[in-house]
């Protein structure tokens, strides 16, 4: 009997993530992520990581390029090592290392849709700013070692990828991406802002625009690659997300039997609320440490914060929730081991401490503002 009830809790959690409002935003987001991977020129970004690029250019580019370059977590490390050893140096390299996993369009969209627009926006903005701050601090702390390094390889960064220069006019590419983003935003907008009929009509027209652009300006191979990349991403992320959400529901169901006065939807939240529930600095720090240690598959951090720790049921404050979302994707115990190997233990330790402390501080400030 109990086993069936626990199983049902898992299904209930799953149902929440398979509901229409989540799917309408996730499906376009996967298409956009696929389009970014295939159509956005990586060459144009990489050239800003050379040793002679001005710092005020390389830092923001590093902090933002996570969205464009870091489609696969395994490409982050070679890029990081190259930027660190032969390019712009430890500062922009660390900014990139942090921002790569932290700002991907899928994670931001899911956060906004499931946990709320305020925390989704806060997550996107503070991840970018944090990347720059962490990079600058790393560059400052290790400035002596950096000064000794000889830097030469601007050429390496200029001619990196083998992609062909695309012949499309820039406004077509822009129109293409703007249409995709509009489909996402309008499709996901609550029907209290836009009624169903005009919404469907607008999405229909936008889809037509995208199709026309694809037919006239993109080759068949490009469209095929886009489809392949989108499907590849979906296949990689969605099954793990759904299994994870199911397990989160089941953990809640089991915990409900051990925690007095709790029901399955908030059991863990009730249990941990005294430690990471409030908006005080201690809760934020603890949440940030949990996020840094715990391995969370892409997107599952949203379910962990929302369902498991109880942000959605109001048991966890906005502060610790944001702290966990910021420290979470960039760090985990396995990734710490790899980063230590690549950076050396001294730099790695400083990096980990910086991420944990700054994530906690940003969460704390957000908690004070948003409550």
């Amino acid at each position: 009997m109990q086993i069936i009830e626990i199983f049902i809790e898992g299904l209930k959690a799953l149902q929440e993530y398979l509901s229409a409002h989540v799917l309408t935003c996730l499906i376009p987001a996967f298409f956009i992520a696929g389009a970014i991977a295939v159509f956005v020129s990586k060459k144009s970004v990489l050239k800003y990581f050379g040793a002679n690029t001005k710092k005020y250019i390389s830092y923001p580019v590093a902090a933002l390029s996570g969205t464009i370059l870091a489609v696969c977590s395994c490409t982050i490390l070679p890029l990081f090592t190259s930027i660190h050893k032969r390019g712009a140096g430890i500062g922009p390299a660390t900014a990139f290392l942090f921002s790569g996993p932290a700002i991907n369009i899928l994670a931001i969209v899911l956060t906004a849709q499931v946990l709320g627009y305020d925390i989704g926006l806060a997550r996107a903005v503070s991840a970018v700013l944090m990347a720059v701050v962490i990079g600058l601090l790393m560059a400052f702390i290790f400035r002596k070692e950096e000064a000794k390094k000889h830097k030469d390889d601007d050429k390496m960064f200029a001619g990196q990828t083998d992609e062909e220069g695309n012949k499309r006019p820039i406004w077509i590419a822009l129109l293409f991406f703007i249409s995709l983003v509009l489909i996402l935003v309008i499709g996901a907008a609550s029907s209290s802002y836009i009624p169903w009929v005009p919404k469907l009509a607008i999405v229909y027209v936008l889809t037509l625009i995208v199709s026309v652009i694809l037919i006239f300006y993109y080759t068949r191979d490009e469209v095929k690659n886009w489809g392949k990349e989108t499907w590849g991403l979906t296949k990689k992320i969605v099954p793990i997300l759904l299994i994870g959400v199911f397990i989160v529901g089941i953990i809640g169901g089991i915990a409900a039997y051990f925690i007095p006065g709790a029901d399955p939807t908030n059991a863990i939240g009730v249990a941990v609320a005294p430690y990471i529930g409030g908006n005080d600095i201690f809760s934020c720090l603890l949440a940030s440490i949990i996020g840094a240690i715990l391995y969370m598959p892409t997107l599952l951090e949203v379910a962990i914060v929302g369902n498991l720790f109880g942000y959605s049921t109001g048991l966890m404050g906005g502060g610790p929730a944001l702290a966990l979302l910021l420290a979470g994707p960039s760090l985990s115990l396995p990734s710490m081991v790899v980063i230590t190997k690549v950076m050396g233990w001294k730099k790695a330790a400083v990096y980990f401490v910086l991420v944990i402390i700054i994530a906690a501080l940003v969460g704390f400030v957000y908690g004070m503002i948003a409550g």
Partner: protein
């Protein structure tokens, strides 16, 4: 002919290896296929985006999983 596949062991790199092996087999040519997984070694080749394919010391493909046809064209 020596074909090196550069990658840290992620799914995309493994996919690349499979495709290269298939292409070599279909062409019926003799080639040594070597996997390079060491990060320093990859970076020393001047490669930042994996998977990458190096043919006889020359970097040919960087940053994406190639199709079988692409490899065949490379090897001819």
């Amino acid at each position: 002919m020596k074909i090196e596949i550069l990658g840290t062991g992620c799914p995309k790199c493994k996919a690349t290896e499979k495709i290269v092996k298939k292409a070599v087999e279909e062409l019926g040519i003799k080639a040594d296929i070597v996997k390079v997984e060491d990060l320093q070694e990859i970076v020393n080749r001047g490669v930042m985006m994996t998977p990458a394919i190096v043919v006889d010391g020359e970097v040919k493909i960087v940053g994406h999983v190639p199709s079988t046809d692409e490899i065949k064209k490379l090897l001819k």
